[in-house]
């Protein structure tokens, strides 16, 4: 057998991990062992895994802090949902319609990623963080006031109210201001979610382990040196921003097709959501793709499972975050982990020796 490189092995382990999780959950579900509340987590977990992995591309691999990631998810969610509503009657085969919706959501989010990236990526560090934060908020609030509808005369659009659009009698309101979009076909399911997670992993991991990934990490480690060996910094920053936005957009489509109503109110698309995704990335390990996957799964489910603690829920959650942080990053904990892995390896080595 051909010897696999370390990076290929790591990627394969990640795919394997996700597929194994899928199989286990499917088996549990078939046996009827899955509670209704757990079933409700399946799609959101996939969404947040995609969000965390795609944000890790910006934060961990490119080394720039972006706080508007939920904004791209919002764009994906709305554009995907609009498409599904518009074509609900014309494209009746749900999987095909949903696939196109996902592509459309990703493309729109990518478009915004690139559009905003062009001026914004000249900024660095804190400044970039502030502008992306503002972007996320703007998107959320803008979507909140849009009215959008369709009738036999074509598409109608208003920022005031649904009545203002002057729809004909056969018209259909698609976005109704703050009430958002209702009646989106619920096409999302766990299988689609897992497929999207795998696609995200595929794109991100292959990008990182290629010529472009090396260039991106070179920019992160030393911008001046990267430029001196002929790497186009703006191009790569824009590329990362666009790809990351596209993946977030796809996650957004998954989100909007998971519930029948979609509004931008609440905390799904605001900066709290962006920060929460950033927490997954940081706790999973910056630049560590597998860490992002695991952290997103555990940290999404944990606060939901802590609901029985009622008022103390977020307190416990915060303590857990601090403990995980210490365990991952404090020098003593790192030493301890190294010692344990060394010992385990030593045990295996001895076994091999005795067998030989």
């Amino acid at each position: 057998m051909k010897k696999l490189s370390k990076s290929t092995k790591n990627s394969l382990i990640n795919y394997g991990m996700v597929i194994a999780l899928y199989v286990v959950i499917m088996i549990i579900q078939l046996c009827g062992g899955l509670s209704n509340s757990m079933k409700g987590f399946l799609v959101p977990v996939c969404i947040y895994v995609i969000m965390a992995v795609s944000l890790n591309l910006v934060v961990g691999i490119l080394g720039e802090l972006s706080l508007g990631h939920a904004g791209f998810m919002c764009i994906g969610a709305y554009s995907g949902a609009i498409f599904s509503k518009l074509t609900e009657d014309t494209i009746t085969v749900a999987p095909i319609r949903f696939t196109i919706a996902i592509i459309i959501g990703a493309v729109f989010a990518a478009l915004f990623g690139a559009l905003i990236g062009i001026p914004v990526l000249r900024l660095k560090g804190d400044y970039l963080a502030i502008v992306t934060l503002a972007f996320g908020e703007i998107i959320k609030n803008l979507v909140n006031v849009i009215n959008f509808g369709v009738d036999s005369n074509g598409l109608h659009f208003s920022l005031k109210s649904a009545m203002d659009m002057g729809l004909a009698e056969d018209g259909k309101i698609i976005i109704k201001g703050a009430q958002g979009i209702s009646g989106t076909p619920q096409d999302s399911n766990f299988t689609v979610g897992i497929i999207l997670v795998l696609i995200t992993l595929f794109v991100v991991q292959n990008l990182v382990n290629s010529r472009d990934g090396r260039a991106i990490m070179a920019i992160r480690d030393n911008r001046i040196a990267a430029e001196s060996v002929g790497i186009n910094i703006t191009k790569y920053k824009l590329m990362v921003f666009t790809i990351s936005a596209a993946l977030a957009g796809a996650a957004g489509v998954l989100y909007s097709h998971n519930f029948s109503t979609l509004t931008s109110a609440g905390d799904k698309f605001n900066y709290n959501a962006s920060i929460m995704i950033l927490v997954y990335v940081v706790l999973g390990g910056i630049g560590n793709i597998r860490g992002s996957v695991i952290a997103a799964v555990i940290l999404y489910i944990l606060p939901e499972k802590l609901r029985f603690l009622s008022d103390y829920r977020m307190l416990v959650y915060a303590v857990v975050l601090i403990v995980v942080m210490l365990f991952n990053w404090s020098p003593k904990a790192k030493e301890f982990k190294e010692m344990v892995s060394y010992k385990i390896k030593g045990m295996f080595a001895k076994k091999e020796e005795t067998q030989a």
Partner: protein
């Protein structure tokens, strides 16, 4: 034949004329030294040559190509590669990946090929891995290929920077104090490496150095810079015995 021709190069920062009417001619295949006391403007000359700073006046011609208006990236593609006085490696990448980043523009596959792992990707990756290993061998770093760059000892980090610069297949290599912080043994080894690079890679080399043993040992000609202007230039041995040069270094 001249590899590099610099005429009347000047730049000022505010009222300070950092480099003033600087001229430099380097022949193809030459090992040329740029020396001078601290703050003389040597690194500024390097930054002007590589497009980090834009010159106020003057021309820079590399192998017949005018470089003045080009960006750093275009200058690198035109054939100038450099190392840095304060080492600038890609610290979290492995040693071999540092060299592969240097091979970036010589890696013939697109982002699409990379993401979808088309045959082109595997072919090109195999080729550049071999190329990178060759360069590491020249620098004596092949044993450390999979180390993280930050974990290399100081002397080897400097060598890795040279390997990375060579990977961009330049015509002219600029070395900014390659021997800084090295002990005499390491310096002697470095001198051999630099000579080897010049002879085997068909390279023209311009280097800044304070270690006079290295300068007199390998440079054929030198230019002395003092307060941004040229003090003198010529055959190394003559220049180093020039009284004005000794005065500039030691004072009256």
């Amino acid at each position: 034949m001249n590899m590099l021709e610099v005429t009347n190069l000047s730049i000022s920062f505010g009222g300070l004329k950092a480099v003033n009417e600087f001229n430099l001619t380097i022949k193809k295949g030459q090992l040329y030294g740029l020396i001078g006391p601290n703050g003389a403007g040597k690194t500024t000359v390097f930054n002007l040559l590589t497009g980090v700073y834009k010159a106020d006046t003057g021309t820079i011609v590399l192998d017949g190509q005018d470089l003045v208006k080009l960006s750093t990236i275009e200058i690198n593609k035109a054939g100038i590669a450099r190392t840095f006085q304060n080492i600038r490696l890609f610290k979290e990448l492995t040693v071999i990946d540092n060299v592969k980043v240097g091979l970036h523009n010589g890696t013939p596959y697109s982002t699409f090929d990379g993401i979808f792992r088309l045959p082109k990707y595997f072919k090109a990756e195999k080729e550049i891995t071999e190329k990178a290993m060759e360069l590491l061998k020249v620098m004596g770093l092949e044993a450390e290929a999979n180390f993280t760059a930050a974990n290399l000892p100081y002397g080897k980090q400097r060598k890795l920077e040279i390997a990375r610069a060579l990977a961009t297949s330049p015509k002219l290599l600029l070395l900014d104090e390659p021997a800084a912080g090295m002990n005499p043994n390491e310096t002697a080894e470095l001198m051999n490496t630099i000579r080897f690079v010049r002879d085997n890679f068909d390279m023209t080399i311009l280097l800044i150095e304070h270690d006079m043993k290295l300068v007199s040992g390998i440079c054929e000609e030198v230019t002395v810079l003092n307060f941004g202007t040229e003090l003198t230039h010529g055959i190394t041995a003559d220049v180093l015995n020039d009284e004005r040069v000794i005065k500039a270094y030691l004072g009256d």
